[in-house]
Symmetry: C2
Subunit: 104 residues, 2 copies
């Protein structure tokens, strides 16, 4: 699975569109927010416990977030932990302002 690198301040080609898509679904954004709210790591199971959707749906959303580069997902034995990549969020926000305000 392709995951863009975390070069600070720079997004890979096509990543900007991918992030915008990933952020557009309210539930998926809520998942991202929940991951961000966790200190350091967020277990997959706590996500499943927190949202009234199936495990498969959480897994799907997590995959989208990872593919967009917004989240890092790491296996720890049986378990999976997720972590936000703040640099990517900030790079997206910066590029959004630059492109959507005419670069003022």
């Amino acid at each position: 699975m392709y995951v863009p690198t975390d070069q600070p301040g720079h997004l890979a080609p096509g990543q900007f569109e991918r992030i915008a898509k990933a952020l557009s679904d309210p539930r998926r954004f809520a998942v991202l927010e929940k991951i961000a709210a966790a200190e350091c790591e967020c277990p997959y199971q706590s996500l499943c416990a927190h949202f009234p959707v199936s495990k498969a749906t959480i897994s799907h959303h997590l995959k989208e977030l990872v593919q967009a580069g917004l989240v890092d997902s790491e296996r720890d034995g049986q378990f999976v932990n997720a972590r936000v990549r703040p640099g990517v969020v900030e790079a997206y926000a910066a590029e959004l302002i630059r492109r959507a305000t005419g670069g003022e």
Copy 2:
């Protein structure tokens, strides 16, 4: 048509989700970018001329951008001009960083 107010740094309830949706379609974002690239005002006609889609589609995208509060649309006789609201873009970016990075 409801259009959120432009209180600097603050988004109306539900506006965050609406903006995320509005930004998620590549074509619609390209329209926003084109409006932003124009100096001061962007005529509706130049949007129609610039994108290989029908007038109806441009009108639809413009409506979504206006409803999200990202763009201001103003009639000038027969014509319509669009203008980006930079404060809204910046407020969205700021709230995105705050909510998606745990408020670090």
